[in-house]
Symmetry: C2
DNA sequence: ACAGTGATGTAGATACTCTACACTATGGCT
DNA sequence: AGCCATAGTGTAGAGTATCTACATCACTGT
């Protein structure tokens, strides 16, 4: 973890964060990254080199669906929305995160 | 996370778990794995193929120190103890975990 | 004309974990 | 004596997510 102050994400959690961000409304990649960074109070950083491969991965699994559109600033952007499968996946990943983080916390707080 | 129900650890957290397990007393690898599994109520699983490379990694960084000894069951085992550096590292990793997990929780719970 | 920023994308390196195997030693059982 | 389960350490190779670094295009403001 932050072994040398470079790692800004817990490996394996990016998919969860993206899916969660899309829960309320479709968004484009740039916007997703911004929202994660702001909501996390700038603890989490989403690099482009992680973001776009992740989006393609999620799309490939059928959890999100992409469509070209125009951003709030009038620019061409690829909007992603959660599919029904994606909602299920989000629920599962949220559950998994809770289980795992609680388990780690138990170890950290053990007598 | 648990993309296909096989992943049992959050990538990057094993070092923290090991260091934490050694905080109270020196232990050998097998024992460390047992303790993590039990304390986590069997949510976390520590494979041998992850454990021993991690121990060697931590030793190489100077955070733990190894010594041959005899286990409770009378067998030859390699005991690891935390170094002063290791205690510092444990504190840092614990802090890092709290920061990151809190940040992820903020995203999960956002409006 | 140019710089800044919004926006998407890829290539290659790095690093941790997982699967699967190998090895040694002890104790118990038949 | 032979066999099996268990305790204990270890490595090789594959898989995969992330990071660094770069490239590209378009719009806006100066």
């Amino acid at each position: 973890m932050a072994r040398d102050n470079r790692l800004e994400l817990l490996q394996g959690t990016l998919d969860l964060l993206i899916l969660r961000t899309l829960q309320t409304a479709p968004k484009h990649g740039w916007d997703i990254a911004e929202q994660i960074e702001q909501t996390s109070e700038h603890v989490l950083e989403v690099n482009q080199g992680s973001l776009y491969p992740a989006l393609h991965r999620l799309e490939h699994q059928g959890w999100i669906k992409a469509e070209w559109g125009i951003s709030e600033l009038g620019r061409r952007a690829r909007f992603y929305r959660l599919t029904a499968e994606g909602r299920k996946q989000l629920a599962e990943e949220t559950e998994g995160w809770k289980r795992l983080s609680a388990a780690i916390n138990r170890v950290i707080r053990m007598a």
